[in-house]
C-alpha cells in the first residue's frame, strides 16, 4: 500500500519531497520482474527516474536525454542513503 503503513514508501516519498520531485503512484499496466519479488515477499517499487521524456519503451527511436539521465543519478544518490539507513522494522530480526 502507498500510505504510511508502508515505511519504505514513507521514506521514498519523503526523499522525493525533499528534492521537490513531484511523484504520482500508479499500478503498472504490464508485468515486470517485480511480480516475482513481491510474490517472494519482498515489497518493491517500480521507478525509473525519467520525467519530461516520451514513453518509447519497445518503440523505434527509443532515447533518453543525458541531462535527465544524470539527474536520475542525483536522485538515486539521495534515495539510497535513506533506504539503506532505514531503522530495523518490527518484523525484522
Amino acid at each position: 500500500a502507498v500510505d504510511d503503513s508502508n515505511p519504505w514508501w514513507t521514506e521514498f516519498s519523503r526523499v522525493c519531497r525533499e528534492m521537490n520531485l513531484s511523484i504520482k503512484p500508479e499500478i503498472f499496466s504490464a508485468a515486470t520482474d517485480s511480480r516475482f519479488l513481491r510474490a517472494a515477499g519482498v515489497p518493491a517499487l517500480g521507478f525509473s527516474p525519467m520525467n519530461r521524456t516520451p514513453v518509447l519503451l519497445h518503440d523505434h527511436n527509443e532515447f533518453l536525454n543525458e541531462a535527465v539521465f544524470l539527474r536520475g543519478i542525483d536522485i538515486y544518490a539521495r534515495l539510497l542513503p535513506a533506504l539503506a539507513s532505514m531503522p530495523a522494522l518490527h518484523n525484522e530480526c
Binding site: S34, L37, G46, F47, P54, E66, P81
Partner: protein, 202 residues
C-alpha cells in the same frame, strides 16, 4: 581508469558503452554484459557473484556490504535484456548509442532499462567516493530474460538459495518514462491474465 569521450560525464560514457552491448532478444549477448558488470564491480570495489539460473542465463549480483548484518538488504534490480528492433524504422543504429546535439541518446534499452542499471551503479560510485557507508547491505541484481516473461531469469532466481541469502527487505525495479514534470512510481502491477473465450454462436 575509465575511457572518456571528450567533455562527456563518465557516467554517460558508461551508459553508452552498456547500450552498445547487444543483449537483444531472442539471442542476447549475455556473456558480454556479465563481463562488463564484473569489470565495473572490480572498479567500484563491490563483491560480485554470478548465479546461473538456467543454461546461459546468469544473474549477476554486485554487493556493497552494510554495517549491520542483522538488517535486511536493499535490492536494486534491473534486467539486462532488451526487446528486438525493426532497424529500418530507426534514424540511428539502435546499438550505436548515438548522442545528438541536444544530448538525446538513441538506443534500444535507453529507457528500458539500461539507464536504471547504470544510474544505480553511478550513485553507488558517488556515495563510496564520498566515504559513505550505511547500515543495510545494498545488492544490485542484473537479471536476464525479463522481456520474455522472466521465466529464465527472476522467476527462477527467487527460488534459489542465493536469493534467500540476500535477505532482501525491499526492492527497487523499473518504472516508466513520464512526458510531464511528474515522475511515476509503481507500487503494484496487474497480473498477466489471459482469458480464452470460446463462443459457440447461436
Amino acid at each position: 581508469r575509465r575511457q572518456l569521450s571528450e567533455g562527456e560525464h563518465p557516467g554517460v560514457t558508461l551508459f553508452r558503452q552498456y547500450l552498445r552491448i547487444r543483449t537483444v532478444q531472442p539471442e542476447p549477448k549475455y556473456d558480454e554484459a556479465v563481463l562488463f558488470l564484473e569489470k565495473i564491480a572490480k572498479d567500484l570495489g563491490l563483491e560480485c557473484q554470478k548465479v546461473e539460473v538456467a543454461p546461459g542465463r546468469v544473474v549477476t549480483i554486485l554487493t556493497w556490504q552494510g554495517t549491520d548484518p542483522s538488517l535486511r538488504s536493499l535490492v536494486l534490480n534491473s534486467h539486462t535484456d532488451v526487446v528486438p528492433v525493426f532497424e529500418e524504422h530507426w534514424n540511428h543504429d539502435p546499438f550505436e548509442a548515438f548522442k545528438d546535439t541536444q544530448g538525446n541518446i538513441y538506443a534500444r534499452g535507453a529507457q528500458d532499462m539500461k539507464c536504471v542499471g547504470i544510474q544505480y551503479l553511478e550513485a553507488v560510485r558517488r556515495l563510496k567516493a564520498e566515504g559513505k557507508c550505511f547500515p543495510r547491505t545494498i545488492h544490485l541484481t542484473f537479471v536476464p530474460d525479463e522481456e520474455t516473461g522472466g521465466h529464465q531469469g527472476m522467476e527462477l532466481f527467487v527460488k534459489r538459495p542465493e536469493f534467500q541469502a540476500l535477505r532482501a527487505g525491499f526492492a527497487l525495479d523499473e518504472g516508466l518514462a513520464s512526458p510531464t514534470e511528474t515522475f511515476t512510481v509503481f507500487y503494484s502491477e496487474r497480473s498477466p491474465w489471459w482469458l480464452h473465450v470460446t463462443s459457440s454462436g447461436n
